[in-house]
């Protein structure tokens, strides 16, 4: 009998086509994890140090990070120095760009940060709740129309968001929701991100059947099973969902662009773009400083949850 406590990801042989995530990737999200699947703990062959490989990899790594490092270092440079030296170390470091840029768009940047973070938090909660509910139904329950609905859900993975965009906009406009956060948040509570549903479905399917049978025999109803068994065991998938929900919502420039306009409601990407429009040509230092500020939450999430992120990504793609 298998272990009673599933590892992150379930065992799925690689050759199984199954429901391949033909994933629709909304703009700005080129990196979605796929279905949870096998990760046989196979140790990488560590052994003789490979200097050449390290050299090459380090060179590539530096090259990749260089733009971001330059951004950070330029944010501490006074304006003249930014364009005269390509070095990563400011000769004359200053915090002026941050101080002045903070209010460079009118309102202090904290307002925008709070706006963004609130929306992201709501998105995380919404996705975790609604997607897990739907996933449980798809994975464990029998009902009329299950096949059709599951196929429909998969099909929406492939749907470009623009095909519903205009009509959604018209609907939200008629509801009076334009220029509020509702169009950005409410869909998350309606399990519209099929990707997470799919991720969780695969995960739940890997849970041992005996657990459910035992619970049934004990007289647990569906919701009790969901609450007591599935949700806790689903935790790795929930964490992955939460993390990617946060990052993708944070970076979802397009939706924020069309739905938010009042200055006090702007999110961080919108504020940054306004900054670019109004002072972009002249105040590069401040522009860079604020750019760094907008990147901090994502980087922070990454640093904190790096292992889980990569594990979530890694346990995917195997159908």
């Amino acid at each position: 009998m298998a272990r009673t406590r599933p590892q992150p990801g379930t065992l799925v042989p690689p050759a199984q086509p199954g429901a391949v995530a033909g994933g629709a990737v909304p703009p700005g999200q080129p990196d979605r994890p796929g279905p949870a699947s096998a990760r046989r703990p196979r140790r990488p062959r560590s052994g003789r140090p490979r200097p050449l490989a390290h050299l090459g990899l380090t060179a590539v790594a530096l090259l990749m990070l260089y733009p971001v490092l330059w951004l950070v270092s330029s944010s501490f440079k006074p304006r003249e120095e930014i364009f005269s030296s390509a070095s990563l170390v400011p000769a004359d470091p200053t915090l002026a760009n941050y101080v002045e840029g903070w209010t460079g768009v009118g309102l202090p940047f904290t307002v925008y940060l709070v706006n963004s973070l609130l929306i992201c938090a709501a998105a995380v909660v919404g996705n975790v709740l609604s997607c897990s509910l739907a996933a449980y139904a798809f994975a464990r329950m029998r009902f009329v129309g299950r096949r059709v609905m599951f196929a429909l859900m998969l099909a929406t993975l492939m749907l470009p968001q623009h095909v519903t965009l205009i009509a959604q906009y018209a609907i939200f406009r008629d509801l009076g929701w334009v220029d509020t956060v509702l169009p950005l948040v409410v869909p998350k509570f309606l399990a519209t991100e099929a990707f997470f549903v799919f991720l969780m479905v695969q995960f739940i399917r890997g849970l041992p059947q005996e657990l459910f049978e035992a619970a049934r025999i004990d007289g647990c109803g569906s919701f009790a099973i969901y609450r007591r068994i599935v949700v806790p065991l689903l935790r790795p998938a929930l964490v992955t969902t939460a993390i990617f929900s946060f990052i993708w919502t944070y970076n979802d420039f397009f939706s924020q662009l069309i739905y938010l306009s009042s200055p006090e409601k702007l999110t961080v990407p919108l504020a940054l773009r306004t900054f670019l429009d109004t002072s972009g040509q002249s105040e590069w230092g401040q522009m860079f400083a604020m750019s760094v500020v907008t990147l901090v939450p994502v980087v922070a999430v990454f640093v904190l949850f790096q292992r889980k992120i990569v594990a979530g990504m890694a346990s995917s793609g195997m159908k």
């Binding site: 086509p17 700005g28 390290h54 029998r142 750019s291």
Partner: protein, 314 residues
Amino acid sequence: MTTAVETRRSRGPDSLGRRLRGSLPAYAFLAPWLVGLVGLTLGPMLLSLYYSFSDYSLLSPPEWAGLANYERMLTDPRFAAALRVTFLYVALSVPLELVFALLVAVVLNRGLRALPLYRAVYYLPSLLGGSVAVAILWRQIFGNGGLVAQLLSAVGVEVPGLVSSPDTALLTLVVLRVWQFGAPMVIFLAGLRQIPDDVLEAAQLDGAGVVQRFFRVTLPLLTPIVFFNLVLQIIGAFQAFTPAFIVSGGTGGPSDSTLFYTLYLYQRAFGNFEMGYAAAMAWVLLLIIAVFTALNFALRRFWVFGDEAPEGGR
């Protein structure tokens, strides 16, 4: 693989009514999703379809226009430009990104102690790349006298502003996408780890060299993952918006050389009050993506390993 499903107790005739009643708990769980499906997906899709056949400015009610929007697409030079630019972008960036990702994954997989560090460093750009901040950075470093121009002239290569010339502006966006190879790379890495040691060892014993082992053993076993990444990246690349918007200042310039399809759609919808035309463009985009995905699936059997396995139970 067994999918355990909740068994029902009743053994009576499996009437629809009984099954429907038995489905109620499931529907309760699915309620949010169903509301979303109808209200935010299917409904708007049909509504969009209707708008695509009408003249709609959002400030006044839609007026039926038949096929006018679609006809206009055929002769709209900017629409042609948008298609051209987007196809070019997909054709250049997706293969480059995947090849790079695969290469790096293979190198990383040879067993290095600092693997988690490298993996993290390579993955970070994927999280940052879609952001406004990075697009702004890109616009600056590839601009006239920007970082890239400075570095190149330090080695003696003089270039004009790369984002202000129509021949190179799109390339800067391709570079931006390739920069984000970390995401498919991580997936490739995981796939590589799945490859059983014994197969590779057997090949080695048979006298296969490194390159041969890669092309004859590793790569074929990886093809399902390549497929997965390919489909995902193509779909994503067709929908790219933020980099083009920020780098070109919303214009798609210079000279429409960065006019991504979604950017043109946005210009029509939210710049010119032409929601009907934009809706038509959206449906065409859906068709394009559907065709590409269908093509990918249809061609699967020719190059993806293990595809002959029958579909496991759902």
